[in-house]
Symmetry: C2
Subunit: 165 residues, 2 copies
């Protein structure tokens, strides 16, 4: 198939870390987004999710092509340190008093984006480990964007900047 | 409630038209996104969707605050004409040979964004009625982004441009 030939071509060096994300549909949506944009890696907390019915429905087979790494959420402190040792900038995507607004943030090419858990977000200790905190400006009564939507938007901004840098 | 006080403040003059979108979860996700960003209006094909269980689960009450208009999809030709007569630029968001890549497109402030139906997209006759066609660059094996994700990304780009113009 023609589409298969893309599989060997270059990936964007962005890692999307969804180890804190719990809803299978959100994980499926993130997998589809990661694959459509050929991201380096998607990180999830356990392999069982890949056979979940809701995950599969939303991922529309993207997991066949998207590189996926497993990192349980209690291993995230080590994972963040590892990424940093490998030269990646680890960015927490969450609403936060010290956060930089997404359109004002300049992404390094080698980036890992840490997404929050539904409702509770990213634990403070993990935020402190990250190199930067970024938030998406919002003005509504509903408290926040859906995590899969937020992850896609931040990834779009990353790709937009990389294309023009 | 403090959040209610936001209700009377300014909205971004972007209309998100999801009349072709059929999946209640996608419509719920678009409603949440529209509300979080205080968009002018969300257009859906019928009012029944607002009581759908899947819609309500994903919309997390955003429909309480988000202005929603009903326009059945077979009325879209008239709706597009009306928007244009009112001075709005109507933009089809879809993959298309003549589409402008989203990061290269300059949004007018008064914009209506027409989203496609899941799987089948936007009928050619409606695309021809629109003032512009915009697509989100993508490189994966999966054919396209989810429509609610795509709508959120295009809206982010619109807001980003409006904030800096």
């Amino acid at each position: 198939m023609a589409s298969r030939s893309l599989h060997s071509s270059r990936r964007h060096p962005l890692t999307l870390c969804a180890s804190l994300v719990q809803n299978p549909m959100n994980l499926g949506a993130l997998c589809r987004t990661a694959e459509v944009w050929r991201l380096q890696e998607l990180v999830v907390s356990n392999a069982d999710i890949l056979t979940d019915r809701d995950f599969r429905k939303v991922a529309v087979s993207a997991d066949q092509w998207q590189p996926i790494r497993i990192c349980p959420s209690d291993r995230l402190p080590d994972w963040i340190t590892q990424q940093q040792q490998q030269g990646l900038t680890v960015i927490a995507l969450t609403r936060h008093p010290q956060a930089i607004a997404l359109p004002q943030f300049t992404f390094p090419a080698q980036t890992a984006l840490l997404l929050g858990r539904e409702l509770t977000g990213i634990p403070a200790a993990l935020i402190r480990q990250c190199d930067a905190v970024v938030e998406i400006p919002q003005w509504g009564c509903v408290e926040s964007l859906n995590v899969a939507t937020a992850g896609a938007i931040a990834t779009y901004e990353y790709l937009r900047q990389q294309a023009t840098s």
